[in-house]
Amino acid sequence: MSDATLNGAAAAPRKDRVETPFRRFVSEFMESRIAVLGLIVFTIIAFIAIFAPWIAPQNPYDLAQLDIMDGRMEPGTVGGAGFTFWLGTDDQGRDMLSGIMYGLRISLTVGAGSALIACIVGASLGLLAAYAGGRTDSVIMRVVDLQLSFPSILVALMILAFLGKGIMNVVIALVIVEWAYYARTVRGTALVERRREYIEAAQCLALPTRRILFRHLLPNCLPPLIVVATMQVARAIALEATLSFLGLGVPITEPSLGLLIANGYEYMLSGKYWISFYPGIALLITIVSINLVGDQLRDVLNPRLKK
């Protein structure tokens, strides 16, 4: 990029654009090229996941489309159905590329869904703790402390041991694992915010508590919440994959990325690497791209790092 274009780009917004907080946020986010790359990659992944049924060469969950004769084909071979298995096939003759696309769907849905539910639960409790204070606060925060002193996988295992295997139970486990992070984050910010004048003003107007909490306090606690939520989506996807790999998650007929990797485990020793390798790469790219975006969001939204 030449100097002239750089100057031109810098000068243009000053003339005809008013700097809104959102625009400033976008331009600060764009400063890190690697974060932008992460965002682009993640958008592509999300696109693939959403439109998997239309772009995947095969429906990997439809047993009628699978031919056991195509089982364990190397990447690049042409199968009985006439299309090329670019990433090979697994033991049931499932095209790995299609399997990964559909697997991404499950991984992203479970990851984002559980993060969203956990966010709602955690943020509400965090707000309540900060606003109510006193006993409510100390009870909620004790539970948070207690839970965060145990590693996520242990809490998840404990819940799956109580509830049994299954995709819904994994979501419940992920929500229970994650809500504490949101609660702690929101409470920390809300404690600072609730002493501000606008809260006092809202209280003087005798607005209902619910309105103060969600219309006044919550929007001002959003920046750190967004950062935590981004990171937690990545963590949830990784944890779901791990639990599915251990055989505690999704059913074998509708594999997520973790289960696809687990399916390839026994063929790994005979050198058929692709069954485990490619889903792992897909998982890795997903997690890294989310983390890159999250890292940059943290830098941009952290008031302590403001220039």
Binding site: L163, G164, F245, L246, G258, F277, L284, N291
Partner: protein, 325 residues
């Protein structure tokens, strides 16, 4: 100090009690206790007899007291699969998990500290940037997948290391250990490295952050102004002060390493208690599940307690906090 110690001990006991209630309620109230505690092969009459002998007709609080009483005597039920006391099964497999976890902690410190120190002292060098990028990768890589890749490269393609099991063991203090034999060590290498990956990244980041913060302190500037050699400033003035937080975190991480070894043990078929719990969940061998959860919770609380107490010894501010307030 005594007051702090007593208060901290009481807190720990309270947490143990709370966790025992949660595990109890989780297994006895959420799940069907008849399904959980009585072998699925039992017929109707056997079931009813078992319900009575297990006291499942008693009210819940009474059942809890019985459970607690038995647990305090070390009786956490018998495994359906192995037909042995659940506690014994877990204790038998504990050394394998412990040596794996300690091996991983050792690797993470030996690799992580020097790399973190370098990255902290020269934050702008290309090597440091590579180290930091690597540490992001270490956080992002799914452990189980890395384990599979290690097996693929080092066991299947290169054939350097064995892929599964513990290998030969030697007896020390009446327990079988793998790290005492060469064959055992070769079996341990991949699982330990796999388990260490995440912790290495953590140690690198902690050390780097600590070094960068400490380098700006007045006493470091003063030491340099006095004309001390850079090596002395680094290793005496800086290093000693960053060790406290690093050691604390590494100590706290021991528990999570043991918990996460569930994954590594499953990948490498390492016969530790993590593999046992996954197998038990898969076949619904619930007495073993309960026993595992209780033991690991106890272990966690003990580790947290020890770290807290050590911390208060190292940092007087912690134990004086109570007096000031």
């Amino acid at each position: 100090m005594t007051v702090y110690l007593v208060r901290r001990l009481l807190q720990a006991l309270l947490v143990v009690f709370a966790m025992s209630v949660i595990v109890f309620v989780g297994v006895y109230a959420i799940g069907d206790p008849v399904e959980i505690l009585i072998s699925p092969d039992a017929d109707q009459i056997e079931r009813e007899r078992a319900v009575q002998s297990l006291g499942l007709d008693l009210p819940l609080w009474h059942q809890y007291l019985v459970f607690l009483g038995n647990a305090l005597q070390g009786d956490l039920g018998r495994s359906f699969v192995f037909n042995e006391p659940a506690l014994k099964l877990i204790l038998q497999r504990m050394p394998a998990t412990l040596e794996l976890a300690f091996g991983a902690m050792f690797i993470s410190i030996v690799v992580g500290l020097p790399l973190g120190l370098y990255a902290g002292l020269r934050p702008n060098s290309p090597v440091s940037k590579t180290i930091m990028a690597g540490s992001i990768l270490g956080f992002s890589l799914p452990t189980f997948w890395v384990g599979l890749m290690l097996i693929m490269v080092f066991a299947v393609q290169l054939g350097w290391l064995p892929s599964t099991g513990r290998g030969e063991t030697a007896t020390f203090l009446g327990v079988q250990w793998s790290f005492l034999t060469l064959n055992g060590l070769s079996h341990m290498a991949m699982p330990a490295i796999n388990l260490a990956l995440f912790k290495i990244s953590l140690v690198i980041r902690l050390t780097r952050a600590g070094v960068r913060e400490t380098m700006l302190m007045d006493y470091v500037k003063f030491a340099r102004a006095k004309g001390l050699s850079p090596a002395r400033v680094t290793f005496v003035h800086v290093f000693k002060n960053i060790l406290i937080p690093v050691v604390t975190v590494v100590g706290l991480e021991l528990g999570s390493t043991i918990a996460f070894s569930v994954v590594t043990e499953s990948v490498f078929a390492w016969p530790g208690m993590g593999k046992l719990i996954i197998d038990s969940i898969n076949v619904l061998d619930r007495p073993v599940i309960v026993a595992y959860l209780m033991i690991i919770v106890l272990m966690f609380i003990t580790i947290n307690l020890i770290v807290d107490l050590t911390y208060s010894l190292l940092d007087p501010r912690v134990r004086l906090e109570g007096k000031g307030a």
